[in-house]
């Protein structure tokens, strides 16, 4: 049985890992991620890259929705802004990709204040609808400022070269995405164990008590919007690079639903849940098409013509199933399993 429970100094409580065994597991995990592209063909690599990008976006949304309790359907808007910030600065203006990535975070972060301020007093459904509107507004703006954005035709995006290293193959792009994913995980873990993360969760759990503790609700909701949109924007830039093309058509509203579905499936508020959920939901259409494939050609045909609709249907179904049967998501399942394992053969 693992035992990392007894600690001698207070500092040990805030460390991210608390045993050698845990560190070894993390190392194994990292090696596994590095080894992944060697096992997969081109299609497999693009699938795991997509999983990683979705995981980054979901971790971003998790800050706002999972921790702070503010439901948002504005995910797409900030992805689009991030993608265009990157594409315009790097492709149109020739700025270095590293600056492009920074802008892909900063631009959506500040834009989110514009969405955040009017929604400060809104909750639940009203907030969801207001944030949804931001997606339409951003799309409209992209079409409006076609001098900058190239309007509906979009901007072609090359694979980036960072500090002289060209991420020009699919495997290399995966490593780039995985590395940014790792940075995102660390940033989220750090936020989570800080006064900022605690303030977010305090607002979600009891905003009145949070205010009595000196948390400025308006400021912290905006911080949550900004931190969330920063990460979501970067996922948008990565998605643009992944697609080689940034257009508003590349970012359908379904992405916002998908992001929420990922959090619900993974387990609201959990960083690991966001990652597990992304792997599960991005993998789901593949599993489905494999199953449909077993029913022969016509079934397969049906699936490829209605791919978008079927995806939407699947997400809806999964959301309902999880909310109904496993509200704590995959992380909840994992914790139940872990408890059963440590306590076996006892019942409690």
């Amino acid at each position: 049985m693992r035992s990392g429970y007894f600690k001698e100094t207070v500092a040990e409580h805030i460390n991210l890992t608390d045993s050698t065994l845990q560190r070894i597991w993390i190392l194994i995990g990292l090696i596994f991620v590095v080894a992944l592209p060697f096992y997969f063909g081109l299609y497999g690599i693009s699938l795991i890259t997509l999983m990683a990008i979705s995981a980054i976006g979901a971790m971003g949304l998790n800050i706002l929705t999972g921790w702070t309790g503010q439901i948002s359907l504005g995910q797409t808007a900030f992805m689009v802004l991030g993608a265009y910030a990157y594409a315009i600065s790097v492709e149109s203006w020739g700025w270095p990709p590293i600056i492009g990535f920074a802008l892909a975070g900063i631009v959506p972060a500040f834009a989110s204040v514009l969405v955040g301020v009017p929604s400060l007093r809104l909750k639940g459904l009203y907030l969801a609808i207001t944030t949804l509107a931001s997606a339409f507004i951003v799309n409209q703006l992209v079409l409006e400022f076609d001098g900058l954005t190239n309007g509906a035709s979009g901007i072609f995006v090359n694979r980036p070269t960072i500090f002289g290293y060209a991420f020009d193959t699919d495997a290399k792009l995966f490593y780039l995405v995985a590395f940014i994913g790792l940075l995102t995980v660390l940033a989220c873990l750090n936020l989570r164990r800080s006064r900022i993360g605690r303030a977010f969760i305090a607002i979600r759990d009891n905003d009145n008590a949070a205010r009595v503790m000196g948390i400025d609700l308006r400021a912290y909701k905006l911080y949550a919007f900004m931190a969330s949109s920063f990460i979501v924007g970067i996922s948008g830039a990565l998605y643009g690079i992944f697609l080689s093309f940034v257009t508003i058509d590349g970012f359908p509203l379904l992405l916002a639903i998908e992001a929420l579905a990922i959090l619900i499936v993974g387990g609201m508020g959990s960083i690991a849940g966001a990652i597990l959920g992304a792997i599960f939901l991005v993998g789901l259409p593949e599993i489905t098409s494999a199953i449909f494939g077993m029913f022969g050609e016509t079934a397969k045909q049906f699936l490829s013509t209605g791919a978008h609709e079927i995806k939407g249907l699947l997400y809806g179904l999964v959301i309902i199933l999880f909310l109904r049967l496993q509200p704590h998501g995959l992380m909840g399942l994992w914790q139940d399993a872990k408890r059963a394992w440590t306590l076996w053969p006892l019942r409690y």
């Binding site: 750090n190 800080s194 006064r195 605690r198 759990d205 949070a210 009595v212 400025d216 911080y223 931190a227």
Partner: protein, 272 residues
């Protein structure tokens, strides 16, 4: 001399009714003052006004001479106002440690960016905060549940966590709203001991809303009695207890069959 906390002619209206009506009250460092009164007397409303939950309709509240009307609600804590809630208001998904740590929030300065990077000030501050939280946990004798999610704790334990969270804000005045309600004798005595220690060791002034008359009589320096939002009387516990207006207020609120006598503290308690 300016009082630590002073309420001057404070009134709060809800529509047509005056939930708090012209109440004046002041409390000095290290004092324990109880606010008593039958249900609906306006006690919690009074706390809501002092802690910035609700704005006053008329009158003024000041802390060390500073008028609270000029201060945004989330900054009241920085002036030294800490409180617990009549109905628990914990962050229910967090552990005991997490909850009490939130009390340290305003005393920490780490920004969002520093927090995401977690180095230097961010780390130092976090360790200092946790050390203080550990002291509080030890003081309140809840070490054995320190890593439990608060939602899974007993009511009495949750009340202690709330007290700990309020203490972590480093208050000058602590507002405790029926903190022993629903507790047994032993738990109540523990809380009484904590309250006296908090006063003794930290010099914190304590404003206590309480229905438990034994506790009120035992630990209060002064008692302030309210009914229908108005002050009936204020003074020494013994005097307030035997004040005709107070007895009537309690008997009028459904305890008329109880006899007022030498044992009437017990009787009024039962009436509530």
């Amino acid at each position: 001399m300016t009082a630590l906390l002073r309420l001057k002619d404070v009134t709060r209206k809800f529509g047509g009714i005056n939930a708090v009506n012209g109440v004046s009250l002041s409390i000095e460092k290290g004092e324990i003052v109880s606010v008593i009164g039958p249900n609906g007397a306006g006690k919690t409303t009074l706390f809501n006004l002092i802690s910035g939950f609700l704005p006053v309709t008329t009158g003024s509240i000041s802390v060390e001479g500073r008028d609270l009307a000029q201060v945004p609600a989330h900054k009241y804590v920085q002036l030294g106002i800490g409180r617990t809630f009549q109905n628990l208001a914990l962050f229910k998904h967090g552990t005991v440690v997490d909850n009490i740590l939130v009390g340290r929030h305003w005393q920490m300065k780490t920004s969002v960016i520093e927090a995401a990077l977690h180095f230097g000030r961010s780390r130092r501050e976090e360790i200092a905060a946790r050390e203080r939280v550990e002291e509080i946990i030890e003081f309140l004798e809840i070490e054995h549940v320190r890593d439990k999610v608060v939602g899974t704790l007993s009511y009495g334990q949750q009340k202690r966590v709330e007290l700990g969270r309020a203490l972590a804000t480093n208050p000058k005045v602590l507002l405790l709203d029926e903190i022993v309600a629903g507790m047994n004798q032993e738990e109540t005595e523990d809380i009484a001991r904590f309250i006296l220690d908090i006063r003794e060791e930290l010099g914190v002034a304590i404003l206590l809303i309480e229905h438990d008359m034994h506790l009120v009589m035992d630990i209060s320096d002064r008692v302030h009695a309210l009914n229908f939002g108005r002050t009936i009387t204020e003074g020494q516990p013994e005097d307030v207890r035997s004040h005709p207006g107070v007895i009537e207020a309690y008997l009028g609120s459904g305890g008329a069959e109880q006899q007022a006598g030498p044992d009437h503290a017990k009787a009024t308690e039962a009436a509530l």
